[in-house]
């Protein structure tokens, strides 16, 4: 059997990716990049699930990853549709432009 990587490393990597994605969501102003950062966050959680599943030698983690994958695809589909509408209405991809409501 191969020497396995400890679970902590996997979780640490997933956590780092998650933080990077979160920073991207908060810092980026271009809506397409925000969506990409969201994808990074979701994939980080997928990695965490697979790592956790590997620890218990169960398939559940990978099943969850498939769920996450399909959900992320659905979300991006709707997200990109909204991006198109945003583009045609505000003539920009800047997320700050879409802030007409305040209070």
């Amino acid at each position: 059997m191969m020497a396995s990587i400890p679970m902590e490393y996997g979780l640490l990597l997933a956590g780092t990716l998650f933080a990077l994605g979160l920073i991207g969501v908060l810092v980026r102003r271009n809506i397409v990049f925000i969506l990409m950062s969201l994808e990074i966050m979701l994939n980080a959680t997928g990695l965490a699930f697979v790592t956790a599943g590997a620890r218990w030698a169960q398939a559940d983690g990978q099943v969850m990853y498939l769920f996450i994958l399909s959900m992320a695809a659905a979300e991006v589909a709707v997200g990109l549709a909204l991006v198109l509408k945003l583009r045609s209405q505000f003539k920009t991809l800047d997320a700050d432009a879409a802030s007409r409501m305040h209070g």
Partner: protein, 468 residues
Amino acid sequence: MIAIAAVSVALMLVIAFHRGARVVLVCALIGIALAFAMLPVAASRAPRQITPLLILDQYALFYLGLLFIASFAVALLAQGYLGKLGGQLEEFYLMLLLATAGGAALVMSAHFASFFLGLEILSVSLYVLIAYPRRSARGVEAGIKYLILAAASAAFLLFGMALIYAELGTMEFGRMASGMAGRDVRWELLLTGQAMILVGVGFKLAVAPFHVWAPDVYEGAPAPVTAFIATVSKGAIFALLVRYFANLGDEVFQQFFPEIAAIAIASMFVGNLLAIAQINVKRILAYSSIAHMGYLLVAFLAGGSLGATAVAFYLVAYFVTNLVAFGVVTVLSSRREADELEDYRGLFWRRPWLATTFLAALLSLGGIPLTAGFMGKFYILMAGVRSALWFLAIILSVNTMISFYYYLRVAFMMFRDAPEGEAAPVAAPSLSFVGGAALAVLTLLLVWIGVYPGPLVQTIRSMVAGLR
């Protein structure tokens, strides 16, 4: 659940063959009614576990009924509203049904996978619903805001689940407590996971400090959709939260007591104080719903069967009241959303019945006796006092006082003289027959629960007894 999923598939086929809003609406209503009619059948076999993912017990059945009634009402209210909007309307009902199916999965879920899937079915349909009016810039803006925040919160939720799974090796709610007791587990990992789940759920419930999206989304979304977000989406998640913590047991609950209490207090104050400054009725209702989630958290913290009873009762009252309030906003909206406070000036003299209905809803939100809201608050306070949460109970009372101010401000606006010289700001809103009937029934329900809560309390008691 299966019924509603089947109906949404059938609906897709119907739309493919025959585009007609009326046909689709009728199909959707029949579908929801059918699902509702299935409940007694299911009740005779409850409680039962449907695969490890879902559990169908009295508790789930009660909330299923509540969700179905609410989405039925939303569909009725949306009918008149959408007619004025123009464009292709059929998919609206489809999305509404799918979102309801997601909510139904949430209240039945007993596993992280179904928790996550239900939540996502609900939110992805909501993104579409929020941005549904194609020409409205506010709708797109609200949709994008909701999408980004909801996706981020889903990621938080998932990461929390992954951490807990990594530590406990199970994703079933029922087995977690034993998993925690059995071995010496690393609490830091577990608590980080729980905290991340709380953040994710907090976003969905729009409790402070995760509430920033709520006013914008409430304002930008079409009024019936706002009603849906306020009731079905939040109610389903709250029901899930109660079940989740009931399964986890006291130890975890105690760990998070201070945090949840802080969230509850912050929500109450943020919601009520910020609502005072608003001039947009939908934003006022948004902030008030943030405050209401705070009240609900007080009942949640009280715990025990009394706490669960209070939560269920308050949710029923909150559902009915919000449906009435947003229903009136829906009915008044024509080409434009009727959500400025000025739109309501002198409403009582123009549309006395509608104004009376809205008044009832406002009083119920504030918690005046003889309305559903009062009984709900009463039960929460009772649960709080019974569990000796004096501090929270006092803050709740103080906040109720604050909330009277802005509810009554809207109410006074309706009794002012209509502005002179110009035509009524909202061009004679057309009250569709079904929408009007739905509003009337809901208002009667609102008063009936307030005056005579006995039967409902009995139902809820027997339901809570089944919850582990």
